[in-house]
């Protein structure tokens, strides 16, 4: 790829070089116009997932609650509380909880502590790539009111203004037992059909996007990263 100088291009200066419009020579010699933001991403807004009728939804919710696949994405000091869950002492596999390496395979996102603006951008991107139904567990007091970083210039205070939170786990830091209790609470909510925050995100999409764009100044990605 050519090396771009930001000043030379007549585009948004925050747009990453790989996301800029350009023409590419195809193997047969023809020239193809590429606009990565339109070609590689779906521009559709997220949709509300309507529940199926009675017993079917109940069965689905039971199935969802028993296989929580967690995205391996640690954001703050709390990410150190997750590895012990995989060890025999706490053993989260017995609850049907396991780690996955990519957002496309996971349905639970643990925001494990403080989020800087830079990480928030990546967290939003990962969250939107996860398939619905999906849930967020917010770990630690930093996600509730900023915790000890409440007056920092670069960490957010309230996670629920940027991403929809299903379960909060308070503490600084919560022990792995608290995290297991949080999974238990999430299971209860899912089985009762109350873990509907992903739908809330789709319904209030404009409000969430306005909040996110207020603090992420270099918005160089599509509005919805599906």
């Amino acid at each position: 790829m050519n090396k771009h100088k930001f000043e030379d291009l007549d585009v948004d200066k925050f747009l990453a070089p790989e996301n800029q419009k350009r023409s590419v020579i195809a193997p047969d010699g023809s020239i193809v116009e590429v606009d990565p933001l339109k070609d590689y991403f779906c521009q559709d807004r997220p949709e509300v997932l309507k529940p199926k009728n009675g017993p079917v939804e109940k069965f689905l919710n039971w199935a969802r609650a028993e296989s929580l696949w967690v995205l391996g994405f640690g954001t703050g000091c709390g990410s150190i509380e997750i590895p012990p869950l995989v060890t025999p002492r706490f053993d989260m596999y017995r609850y049907g909880v396991q780690m996955r390496p990519t957002p496309r395979q996971s349905n639970v996102f643990i925001i494990s502590g403080y989020l800087s603006v830079k990480t928030l951008k990546r967290a939003i991107r990962s969250y939107e790539q996860m398939p619905s139904p999906k849930y967020i567990i917010a770990l630690g007091s930093c996600t509730i009111n900023g915790g000890m970083y409440w007056d920092s210039y670069n960490t957010i205070n309230r996670l629920d203004h940027y991403m929809p939170v299903d379960v909060y786990i308070a503490g600084c830091m919560p022990r792995p037992e608290a995290l297991l209790a949080g999974f238990g609470k999430l299971k209860e909510l899912i089985k009762a059909g109350k873990a509907e925050k992903a739908n809330e995100y789709a319904e209030n999409f404009d409000w969430y996007k306005a909040n996110q764009k207020k603090i992420i100044k270099d918005w160089n990605m599509p509005d919805y990263n599906w």
Partner: protein, 175 residues
């Protein structure tokens, strides 16, 4: 270490000198001579390793204090070269040609303190903060609490207590 300081004083104008430990000293020199002194220490006095380049904001005096901390691995000694530069339009000669990692330190200072190093590679690119538009956050006249309250939707009802008095009232209410 004393020979070294005598040697430096004979060659450069040292305005201040502090011996902190047997193997650690700080010298303050003029802005014009700093890079020459750093180069001399690296090439002739075996201070081959750059430990760090950092800045302190002396808001009341209107200056930034830059410290080039150099390490001599063969004699296990360390020397800090201090420079005072003006806070207004802060700018310093770039030293990216001496060590490769100097460029990264200079980018950081450019972003966090707003100190310019003309000629340093990628100096104006974003380093840690992305799309920052306010005062550089490590400057002491930047109020991080006000910025946070205006930007990050503080949750109302936050209280803080003095731990000693709070615990006393909880545990020994009658005393």
């Amino acid at each position: 270490m004393k020979d070294l300081i005598k040697d430096i004083e004979s060659r450069f104008e040292v305005s201040d000198y502090i011996q902190k430990l047997d193997h650690l000293a700080f010298v303050t020199v003029e802005k014009e001579q700093a890079i020459a002194l750093v180069t001399y220490l690296r090439d002739y006095r075996k201070f081959t390793s750059l430990t760090l380049l950092t800045a302190v904001d002396w808001l009341e005096d209107g200056v930034f204090q830059l410290t080039y901390l150099l390490n001599n691995p063969s004699e296990l000694t360390e020397i800090g070269v201090r420079v005072m530069i003006d806070r207004e339009n802060a700018s310093m000669e770039s030293a990216h040609h001496l060590w490769e990692n100097m460029m990264t330190y200079q980018r950081e200072l450019r972003e966090m303190f707003g100190i310019d190093f003309p000629g340093s590679p990628r100096i104006n690119e974003d380093f840690i903060l992305e799309g920052w538009g306010d005062l550089p956050p490590y400057r002491r006249d930047f109020d991080t609490k006000v910025y946070s309250e205006e930007t990050y939707f503080p949750r109302p009802g936050r209280q803080s207590n003095d731990p000693a008095t709070y615990m006393k009232s909880k545990m020994y209410p009658n005393e």
